[in-house]
């Protein structure tokens, strides 16, 4: 069966990729056709080409979505790898549990969350998704099956967390959820005038709040460079019986068609930013708009038109060099004439991940979205990649479609050790690109 599968950024585009749906954990993996390769594919929420496999087969896991058990006394959840965080939250939140780490969309699968070792707005406190994994099963193309945990097949456990789906197919996983007395969030929003303003709020916020994230006005320049809004919050205390002001996201909102290419320009981004700057949610909010603001609009990636968009997310050290890199990236973006639609600034703590290839490291994280305008956009992203490299930072593979093989090797010093654990029948467009073979 061939269907068009794109990544969330819809760039690069891979035409008609054969898919092999996996429905049951006991199924053997298919043998790829000669010269072809396999790659697990969940909900395709990675932005670039790490979830694509041009010329190969995608092992889709939409039907590998059974719960295998949940203990409401201990918060241990066991499920197949195609289960989404959305499904998990709907099951466990009413029972007083929540995933300890959740990315900005709930439409990611557990398998994808492991393969990209995703993180959330609380990296400083809780680290990455992989840190809360108890065990999982890994199936390889040689038909071997391994249960992997911090004590059992530990090398496979560590290679697979952040391993971009290349070490084999994760069939099921066991997660330790965290108890929440109340899934609603007490939120504060604080405006800041520039990057220095952000830094001055940061220390106190990191100390006093679990969740910290900032939106940055990508068009602000000069002394306003890096101005934006700082959002911080915590799970509300128990028996907080007020009704949250921002409610659950209504379903059914969606972008039904591709916007024309001219829709996103300086003027519309400026209008959006002005609106964003005026909206300052405070007080008790529902967890959905707090954690998953963009999920409210299904298919929001279509506002970028058929050409799609490129996201660039880097992590840079928490140092003068790091701050200078942030400033340079924001400055280049503001002056490029291709404004980033959504710019998000966060911090990472030093809680280590078990994953060798895990992306977050103590420092700042900056994510920008650029509508795909062809060569100009690619050049800009390549420049931002170079700035990141000079600052001793790294770029997030889940969001990337441009980093060079040299950058990849510089960013991920463990890549050689990791490569020995890549399944010989598995590959991805990303993997071939960063290994100079695509």
């Amino acid at each position: 069966m061939k269907t068009e599968r794109t990544s969330w950024g819809r760039y690069p585009r891979v035409k008609a990729q054969p898919v092999h749906p996996v429905s049951w954990t006991s199924e053997p993996l298919p043998v790829p056709p000669a010269g072809g390769t396999l790659l697990p594919h969940g909900q395709g929420r990675s932005y670039g080409d790490s979830c694509l496999n041009e010329g190969g087969t995608l092992l889709t896991t939409e039907r590998l979505d059974h719960f295998l058990g949940f203990d409401p006394a201990t918060g241990v959840l066991r499920c197949e790898s195609g289960v989404t965080l959305d499904t998990i939250v709907r099951l466990v939140a009413p029972q007083g549990w929540f995933p300890p780490v959740t990315p900005g969309t709930k439409f990611v699968t557990v398998g994808g969350a492991i393969a990209n070792d995703v993180h959330g707005k609380n990296h400083v406190r809780e680290g990455t998704f992989g840190r809360h994994l108890r065990r999982f099963e890994l199936v390889r193309s040689d038909c071997s099956r391994r249960e992997c945990s911090p004590t059992e097949n530990r090398d496979w456990f560590e290679a697979t967390i952040g391993g971009l789906g290349l070490t084999g197919l994760i069939t099921w996983a066991e997660l330790q959820l965290r108890r929440v007395s109340n899934p609603y969030i007490l939120q504060e929003t604080i405006p800041f005038e520039n990057l220095e303003g952000f830094l001055s709020i940061l220390e106190e916020s990191e100390r006093d709040f679990e969740f910290n994230v900032a939106w940055v006005d990508s068009l602000a320049r000069g002394r306003h460079l890096g101005r934006g809004l700082f959002y911080r919050g915590d799970y509300a205390p128990p028996q907080f019986d007020a009704v949250p002001r921002a409610r659950a996201i209504p379903s059914g909102l969606g972008v039904p068609f591709d916007f024309p290419g001219f829709a996103l320009n300086r003027v519309s981004v400026a209008a959006f930013n002005a609106l964003q700057y005026r909206m300052r949610p405070q007080g008790l909010v529902h967890y959905e708009p707090f954690f998953y603001p963009l999920d409210a609009v299904h298919g929001w990636n279509r506002i970028y038109g058929r050409q799609g968009f490129l996201q660039f997310q880097c992590g840079v050290p928490m140092s003068h060099a790091g701050v200078d890199a942030l400033r340079e990236i924001l400055d280049r973006s503001a002056h490029s004439g291709m404004p980033s639609f959504l710019t998000v600034l966060k911090v990472y703590g030093d809680v280590p991940s078990p994953g060798w290839m895990s992306f977050p490291k103590r420092g700042f994280s900056l994510a920008l979205d650029f509508a795909n305008r062809g060569e100009r956009t690619y050049r800009l992203v390549d420049e931002l990649d170079a700035v990141t490299r000079r600052a001793g930072g790294r770029v997030y593979p889940a969001k990337d479609s441009r980093m060079s093989p040299e950058s990849f090797r510089a960013y991920y010093p463990e890549h050689e050790r990791f490569a020995r654990y890549v399944d010989p029948a598995f590959s991805s467009s990303f993997w071939r690109r960063v290994n100079g073979a695509g």
Binding site: M1, T3, W24, S26, H66, F67, L68, G69, F70, L91
Partner: protein, 245 residues
């Protein structure tokens, strides 16, 4: 439906329906051929809140075992107030045209085995004067087309059987729901090229639960198939026979 026998429980539509029933706290007796798959569906239903889940691995083509199966399900759940018949095969039209054996296989699974199960179920529900029989048929049963008339005939025969059964059971307060899905994105249709007419098993499952709750007799899922099939049924045979459908 609080105590439900699900036949063909590992099929995509049945699984999606089981999830909705489980979340409503139903007790379930799940039947399918593959014990491992059945366990996965059962564990999933338990985790999602089913009051109780029992399983039985059985090939439903073995008609001689149906009567005892219904008895066991009834005993295990302490009675039954619902049954979902979701097992079926698409068959291969080209092969069926060349061999009666293939045709018989399709008729056996889709029609005879359903009738064989519905007979004891209908009698029990009739005598307890309560219950809901939900049977997954197909829009293909509405009119024979050259591309799949063997499958269509098995579902068409089933539709007529269900009409009669509904007519008989109406005065006992037993509901008979004929579910007519169009194309559904399931392993059964894995080989077909997908188009916008394809629905997800989840959407079909929501339609099934809605049909049961609103006590409908015959439901097209998604409902755009009702006008489509109305038009297709209305084409005069003399025209229809020349069409390539």
């Amino acid at each position: 439906m609080k105590k439900v026998l699900v036949l063909g429980a590992t099929s995509a539509i049945a699984q999606a329906t089981v999830r909705l029933l489980a979340a409503r706290g139903a007790a379930l007796y799940l039947v399918g051929r593959n014990p491992e798959r059945l366990q996965a569906v059962a564990q999933d239903a338990r985790t999602r809140g089913a009051a109780r889940v029992e399983t039985e691995a059985l090939d439903l083509d073995d008609l001689a075992r149906h009567e005892a199966l219904v008895t066991r399900a009834e005993e295990a759940l302490g009675g039954l107030d619902g049954a979902l018949l979701a097992h079926g095969i698409l068959g291969d039209q080209a092969q069926a045209q060349g061999s009666y054996a293939e045709t018989e296989k399709v008729l056996h699974t889709n029609f005879l085995s359903a009738v064989s199960l519905l007979t004891p179920l209908a009698n029990r529900f009739e005598s307890q004067k309560a219950g809901t029989l939900v049977v997954i048929s197909s829009v293909a049963g509405d009119r024979g087309r050259q591309s799949n008339y063997v499958y269509g005939a098995s579902k068409g025969a089933l539709n007529v059987f269900l009409q009669g059964l509904r007519n008989r059971l109406a005065r006992s307060g037993v509901a008979v729901v004929t579910v007519k899905p169009g194309f559904v994105d399931t392993p059964m249709t894995a080989a077909m090229k997908k188009n916008p007419l394809f629905a997800s098993p989840e959407a079909v499952a929501r339609g099934i639960v809605r049909a049961v709750e609103t006590r409908q007799d015959e439901v097209y899922l998604p409902d755009f198939w009702r006008p489509i099939m109305f038009l297709i049924r209305g084409i005069p045979e003399r025209v229809f026979k020349r069409l390539k459908l």
